[in-house]
């Protein structure tokens, strides 16, 4: 009896192959595709409100946003308003105004599976409109014969307003956005600005520009930074495009 069953088994084993509708694929392709999130990231700068709180001579805020275009490229923008009073040796002035920076970020960070972080380089075209108020000033004079105790005050000594000022500059950005927890990011960036054009008053030049920071004599460069907390609003998902890799053989070369 047992011989019958064993014989039957040997016979039926042949049907296995016929029952299989498709041949067994021993290396099945992974059909689970990792989808990347695309959407809008909105946030606020946290350094400016903190500085506003700590420094009596400064108030400001900045809204940051970016929108993912493709695997690496993001459209990015910053919108802000700043007011700063500076006391120099012989004069005191207040600058207040708004600025808008628009440009792109390119993510250079190769994320591991599931990571959504950015280390980016980017560029911005920035524009600011602002006004200057010369609060008070004294005349610089190294000869103190007529006023031995102090420099003489400027005429009138009433605050003088220069309005309708503007500046346009290019900005190179280097920054990072790190996902702290689900869809909440912390970002930081440093910026190098190059003034392209500015409208200034002949009597009192622009010494500080909202969004650009300090303007230096005989130089068109300026530096800035921001720290931001932002929320990523996922709109849709798309899988990565596979990069074609061209392997270059180095064998045979010395």
């Amino acid at each position: 009896m047992s011989r019958f069953f064993i014989s039957l088994s040997f016979f039926l084993i042949g049907f296995w192959a016929f029952c299989q509708s498709e041949p067994i694929d021993l290396n099945p392709k992974d059909t689970v595709v990792y989808q990347q999130s695309y959407g809008l990231r909105l946030g606020v700068d946290i350094s400016r409100p903190i500085t506003s709180f700590l420094d009596d001579n400064y108030t400001g805020f900045e809204i940051v946003a970016d929108y993912r275009l493709n695997q690496k490229l993001y459209i990015a923008a910053e919108l802000g308003n700043e007011k700063k009073t500076r006391q120099e040796d012989l004069y005191n002035f207040t600058t207040s105004g708004s600025y808008l920076k628009v440009g792109v970020n390119k993510n250079t960070y190769a994320n591991w599976y599931g990571e959504k972080n950015l280390i980016y380089i980017g560029g911005r075209l920035a524009f600011s409109t602002f006004q200057n108020t010369l609060n008070d000033y004294q005349y610089f004079n190294t000869n103190r014969y007529w006023s031995p105790t102090d420099f003489t005050n400027g005429t009138g000594n009433v605050p003088e307003n220069f309005s309708g000022l503007s500046a346009t500059w290019l900005e190179a950005v280097f920054g990072t956005n790190v996902e702290l927890f689900s869809n909440v990011y912390m970002g930081a960036s440093i910026r190098l600005g190059l003034i392209l054009a500015q409208k200034e008053d002949e009597r009192f030049p622009n010494l500080w520009i909202p969004g650009f920071n300090k303007v230096t004599n005989d130089s068109r460069f300026g530096v800035g930074f921001n720290y931001s907390i932002s929320y990523f609003l996922p709109l849709y998902k798309k899988k990565n495009q596979i990069e074609k890799k061209i392997e270059i053989s180095t064998e045979g070369e010395n």
Binding site: Y91, Y109, Y145, S219
Partner: protein
């Protein structure tokens, strides 16, 4: 990794440029001094020293700090007031003190009137005053040692060129 290195290089470049910022000290200029030269009234082309010249600003108790006191000079640079549109000086030739401390020299009073022009030089300097439409008057008397005054430049923006000629 290579791209992070590029980023770091960029960061260093920014820090580098930021630290190259100029110090905010004033090197661009100053409120100018009025430069006066003394000429011979007999030969108006040649300079002539004023013996033991003393220059005092009217209303001041001390002599002008830019002029060597009681020395023979043919060129002086003196500061004008920056808060009003005129400045007067007492120019004393043959200046000496009597035993009771009184001045024995010949005192002439000269008055300069001008317009003040504010000029913002730089962040470090701030505003300086330049003078324009310079005019001078001097009290005339029988024993005046100053015979005539001529304004060469009515605009005072630099301290290195002569603005006024005084003939004596």
């Amino acid at each position: 990794m290579k791209k992070i290195k590029v980023g770091l290089a960029f960061l260093l470049a920014i820090i580098g440029i930021a630290s190259c910022e100029k110090d905010d000290i004033c090197v661009e200029g100053d409120t100018p001094l009025l430069v006066i030269e003394f000429y011979d009234i007999a030969d108006t082309a040649s300079l002539k020293n004023v013996p033991a010249l003393r220059v005092v600003g009217q209303g001041q108790a001390v002599t002008v700090n830019t002029v060597a006191d009681r020395t023979a000079l043919n060129k002086i640079s003196i500061p004008l007031k920056t808060d009003v549109d005129e400045t007067s000086f007492l120019l004393i030739s043959n200046s000496a003190s009597a035993e009771n401390g009184n001045e024995t020299g010949n005192i002439d009073t000269i008055n300069f009137s001008y317009k003040r022009l504010e000029d913002f030089l730089s962040r470090g300097c701030g505003f300086v005053v330049n003078y324009d439409s310079l005019q001078s008057t001097f009290t005339t008397g029988t024993d005046n040692w100053i015979k005539n005054i001529e304004i060469i430049r009515s605009q005072v923006t630099k301290s290195d060129s002569t603005h006024v000629k005084i003939f004596h």
